[in-house]
Each structure stands twice: as C-alpha cells, then as structure tokens.
Amino acid sequence: MKRVLVFALIAGCSHAHGRGGGDAGDDGDGGGTVDALSLPDVAPNASDPLPTGAISFFLATSCPSGWTSYDAAAGRAIVPSATDPTVTSGAPLARNEIRAHHHDAAIGVDLPSTSFAGIAGAANTGVAGAGHVDGAASITDGDAALPYVQLFACKKTAPPNGLSIPGGMVAFFESACPTGWLEAPAEWNGRMLVGLPNGGTPGATFGGAPLASGEARTHTHPYTGTVAIPSHGIALVSGCCAGGYASAGDRTISGTTGAGTVDLPYVQLRACVAP
C-alpha cells in the first residue's frame, strides 16, 4: 500500500486566503500546498497498540496499516461527549472553508422635535416628523476568525499489538472507553479541543459554557451606528406653534443584534485517556 506521510514539524506560514473549498488538486484558494511525497508504507503490515475502534488524527495523507478513514468526522471538529457519541451539529466544512454567519438586527432612530412659528399642515413635506422611526438593518456576514488545522482522521480496524501506549494519550471512540482506558476529565466534555499554544496552561478551559448535546451555540453583538439627518430649510423662524418636526443632525443608534450561530460543525465522540 502506498502511503504518503506528511511529517511536519511545521512552521505555520500564513498568507492571504480565499474562502476555501478549492478543488482537489489545486492549492486550495491560496491555501498553499502540502509538499507531500509518495512513499512506501511507513511500516507495511505493522501493528500498533491502539485499541480497535480508536479514532485519531494523522498528519498524513492516508491512514496507516490497520486503520481506515473515519469519514463520519470529515469536515468537523471532534467534541468530547460522555453521553451522546456520534451526534453531529452543522454541515461539514469544505477544504479550507471559512464559514460565515449571519445576524439580523432591529434598528430605529429617535428624532428629537423642533417647532416653527407657523402653522402645521399644507403641502410642504420637506421636513420629517419627530419621534421614533424604525429602519431596515443590513449586517455583513462574517466569520468568527477561529483558526484550525486539517488532519486526516482514521479509525483503527486491526487489533492492538499488546505493546504499551503512552500514558495520558487521548483517543476517541464511538462507544465506551476500552478496558484499561479512562474517561476524559468531565470538564472537557462539550468543549472544542485546541492545541496548547506556547505558554498556555494545559487543560485550561475558556470561552462559553459547555455545549449541550448537538447544540448550535449562538452569540450576539452590541451594535452602534449613526444616521445623518440633513437639514431642510423652512421660511419660518423657530418657535410656537407648529411642533413635532424632526431636528436636523446626526443621530446615534445602538442595540444588540439578533442571535447568530458560528456553525462550526462537530461530531461528538467519547474521549478516553490511556492510563
């Protein structure tokens, strides 16, 4: 079996991007290429100590001997779940996809009143009325700027070879943890897994509360804006008693957008830790 190994002690060189989803064989909309070479299998007919059913990531372009592609996770993050493995949320990401999301918002402006020394009514409607006026907002779709790396996901099909597994190693399973493996710490459940940044504290949790099973988490934004109200000249002095006309000037609007979901797709799996 030919296997391409992308062994990368990687320098994460970034450059301008497209929106992802490039066709197979291209560079991924500016996504760069992985300088992979076709090589013989790393260890033909090799065996390893991972239990049958273990799911793990590989920095390789195919699965090693005794493993098969785990397509159920393709385009998804893996979120630990002690209760509902294999539940998914969202549609899978395309290659290099930067997924945008949407918010709605109800907006309105309050126009303070001015008055003129004249009589209301008749045909000149050049001045607006005072009071609250609702408008139609348009919020630009955008992405949540969450960084990710894409790794091949494989599921172990062969039996373990009986050798020891490094203590503390995490593997994912569709069912209960194998004999001898430990359930991952409860605080991992319902959270997206992030590779530890340099200087970070291992196991630190942050962001929102853990996801409920299959939850598509939403968020909102505070918004502010301005509406410029130009003047409309009237041949009257200000004063009594034609009132209820809008004053000219810039008006500020503010509020909170409607809820939007980042739609980062995931699949829930049992996270188990080697003793």
Binding site: L5, F7, C13, S14, H15, A16, A24, G28, G30, G31, G32, T33, A36, L39, D41, A43, A46, F58, A60, S69, Y70, A74, A77, L93, R95, N96, H103, G108, G126, A128, A136, S138, A144, L146, Y148, V149, L151, A153, I165, G167, V170, R191, P197, G200, P202, F206, G207, A209, L211, H219, P222, Y223, T224, G225, V227, A228, A235, A246, I253, T257
Partner: protein
C-alpha cells in the same frame, strides 16, 4: 492577518522500505492530544495544531493546511461585523415655503453606518497538549 497557511514539510521519510519505529509501535504522523503537560518520549509538540482547533478530513490535499491565525493561550477570539441599512423618514407637512431656517431635519431615506462590535463566538474550548508521533 487571517489566512490559510502552508504546512511546510521539514521532515520526510527518506528511502524505501520499512522504517524502524519506537517501541510503542504508534504510527509515525499520528497526532494526539495528551492529558499531560508535555509530550512523551518519541513524540514532539504538534506545532501545526498550536492554538488551533483540529478539523478532521478525509481529503489528502487538505491535510496540514491551516486556516486563520493561531489563538494565544486561552484566547476567546472575537469578531465583528459591519452594519448598514436605511431609515425612511416620512415628511410632516407645514404651511410654509422652503427657506433659511435649517433647524428641521429633512424627510426621505437616510442611510445607517455602524458596527456590530467585537464579540466572541460563544463556543467553549479546552486547550490540550498536542503531539505528533515522530519518526524514530
């Protein structure tokens, strides 16, 4: 700057035939999280996953590609959106000709410009040691 990165291959198997691996037999190139503060012997930090979520793929071309700028430790990344729109201000009639008193605001359609300010995704995270099985 956000972007899609290139995974630079700095180490590749050389030559043909089986390669000797460490005693545990774990396949080289396996990337795993660890419930430990450091990588075990035979493994090295998976720098490509540092500060990043891992998206599983079955597309060989996608492997190793990164999207976006890595997170700082415990960073709850925020984002913002531009906001626009329009408000139609109805006129209120008055018995007067147009003139020089500019205190009144003009009727008609007015545009809105603003920002839906920075906010996090609301997603929860845990940062874990990520290691890649090295070639030995």
């Amino acid at each position: 700057m956000r972007g899609v990165g290139i995974a630079l291959v700095v180490g590749l198997l050389a030559g043909a035939g089986p390669v000797e691996v460490a005693n545990d037999g774990v396949p080289p190139g396996m990337v795993s999280f660890f419930a430990t503060p450091a990588c075990p012997a035979g493994w090295v930090p998976a720098e490509v996953a540092s500060g990043r979520l891992v998206i599983a793929v079955n597309d060989p071309i996608a492997v190793g590609h990164t999207v976006g700028d890595a997170l700082a430790p415990a960073e709850d990344r925020t984002h913002a959106h531009a906001i626009g729109g329009a408000i139609s201000l109805p006129g209120k009639s008055i018995s007067a000709a147009d003139g020089n008193n500019d205190s009144g605001g003009a009727s008609g359609s007015r545009t809105i410009a603003g920002t839906a300010g920075a906010a996090p995704s609301g997603l929860p995270f845990v940062q874990l040691t990520a290691c890649v099985r090295s070639l030995q």
